[in-house]
Amino acid sequence: MKTYMVDAGKKTGICHKWLFLILLILCMPPLRVAAAGKDGRCPSCHEGRAAGRRGGEKQATQPMTTGLGDSVHRALACPECHRDAGAAPTHKVPLAKVDCSGCHEEAGRLFGRSVHGAALKRGDKDAPSCTSCHGGHYVLSASDQRSPVFRGNLITLCARCHTDVEVQKRHNLPSTEAIKAYENSVHGRLLKEGRQMRAAVCSDCHGSHLILDRRDPESKTNREHIPEVCGRCHVQIYNEYKVSIHGRALKEGKAESPTCTDCHGEHTLTLVNDPKARVYVANVAATCAKCHANQTIIVKYALPSDRYSTYVGSFHGVALKYGDITAANCTSCHEVHRILPAAEAESSINPQNLGRTCGKCHPAMKEAVSIGKVHVEAKKESSPGMYFVRKFYVWFIGVLMALFICYIALDVYGRIRRRRHGQ
């Protein structure tokens, strides 16, 4: 039993060959379990009471920290990973680090290109290797709830290094607060409460083996790829976003065009009904305004100006600001993900469709013939009527007040003058 399987084969006689094969097949799993971990001569030094003592004068043996138990590698014999252990009964020098890519070629290749892989190659002590995440001897399948790389455990696993202030400082990484914000995000909460095990975890957005800096064009978290990453789960929304002006602009390489995270946040992502969410009805206008009231972006892409200020000053804007959350916000008219320019026939703000759009809240408006301009700036060129009426009133009020004040001054003067003259 304490022998290699190959050896066991050799010892068997020819006449029993068939019987043995049947037995072998029947016994294979337990046999291999028995063989693995206790294979060959390794356990005599590395296991049980012997471990740590039988290493000669100078060097103690490294005890096996964990058994292979029911690990996915339970069937492997030590030398299959520790190749340099070879056939030699003992080894004087410590064995080299196991190279998993011998079998896990693809994972090894991807990891090598990742930020973690690169750091490891540089000899960075903080950099994780395969075993940092997957475990050493006791490697479990990622679908096993006990595995550190199981979806539900990933947060804890990644946080081990990414909430370490020293590591953050050494590598200029995001703060613990930024990382931990995930736990309160809608993804984090769904996962924690066990309501949706498919909710995004670290690896869904950042990748697992191939984690790259977000500035890397190939990174999953690169602006340009974010919609696809989110779209893997949020298919319908991705399809809407893809055809929107924002989606198209992003594809064309207009880097300022908003991607999912610009409106929703990443680690802080919360549901739309959370008053803190950037996409909460009362916060939508301010979120859009980050770009649509940004003079640089407005000029660069020839966007219509004053969209935000005209909205904020409108009935809708004021009503929403003071707590009427049913009042229209940007997305009520422009749609949420499928935002299209007014000139396009399918746009919700195309003059042909305005009746329907306004009609969502004002049913009678469905048949309205002429809705006209919504964002009125009261500028001489674009809204002369409004401009001149305002101008007129400003002057009218000014002159009227001046006259009133003159009258009052005159009245007071007259009284003083008459009193002085004893009248």
Binding site: Y322, A364, S370, G385, Y393, I397, R415
Partner: protein, 228 residues
């Protein structure tokens, strides 16, 4: 208080009630309206909280508007159907004499004229107040209804009319508000002659002495030229 006989009734109880309803609704309308117009200022924000939010603000504003319009209608009816009302209105009509009085008042204050213009029941000052307020109620009432029933209104008129209407309502209200605060407040409250206020709006009474001084033509019509 002097002898009862020294006083004349200037405003009847119903006229005082009209005044009370008009000024209280106007104050409420002004506060709720200015809150919306200057919603970004700190005072508007604290008032908005006091008023119980933006929707409630609108409800208060419209309720006060209905009170004001109803009072206004009552006043119009009394002008049309009561003798006193008709009399009141006739005295309120702006005539050539008012322009002359106004010019003379300026000259009198400047010292270019010895004698104060002789007013009838309503002076040119009071007429400015009355007509400014009356026209404001008409303008603001009409434009206010357009804002109230905006959707219906927009089915007939293009949106730019609605937008203009909004601007007109807001500025017209500012004019009305300033007339009240500056003109009326000075003339019936802060004016050294009547400070802290002309009590006629409460008692409805005016002393004969006051009448002879401020409304000599009316006094003479009632009591003759000699001493009353």
């Amino acid at each position: 208080m002097a002898n009862e006989a020294d006083y004349v009734e200037r405003f009847t109880a119903s006229e005082r009630a009209v005044h009370l309803l008009i000024f209280s609704s106007l104050i409420i309308l002004s506060i709720t309206g200015l809150t919306l117009k200057y919603h970004e200022s700190w005072f508007a924000q604290s008032i908005m909280r006091l008023e119980g939010g933006v929707l409630f603000r609108g409800k208060i504003h419209r309720t006060a508007a209905v009170v004001l319009i109803a009072t206004f209608a009552y006043h119009l009816l009394s002008i049309m159907f009561t003798r006193r009302g008709r009399d009141f209105f006739e005295h309120m009509i702006v005539r050539k004499k008012d322009l002359i009085d106004g010019a003379n008042l300026i000259r009198y204050n400047l010292g270019l004229r010895k004698e104060k213009p002789r007013f009838d029941r309503f002076s040119c000052i009071e007429k400015i107040q009355y007509w400014a307020a009356g026209l404001a109620v008409v303008f603001l009432g009409l434009s206010g209804f357009m804002l109230w029933f905006e959707t219906l209104f927009m089915m007939v008129f293009p949106k730019w009319v609605v937008d203009l209407n909004h601007v007109v309502h807001s500025f017209e209200a500012t004019v009305g508000f300033l007339v009240l605060v500056v003109w009326h407040l000075y003339n019936v409250h802060l004016n050294p002659q009547v400070f802290p206020m002309n009590r006629a709006w409460l008692t409805g009474k005016i002393s004969k002495e006051e009448m002879r001084r401020d409304h000599p033509l009316e006094y003479e019509r009632l009591y003759g030229n000699g001493k009353g």
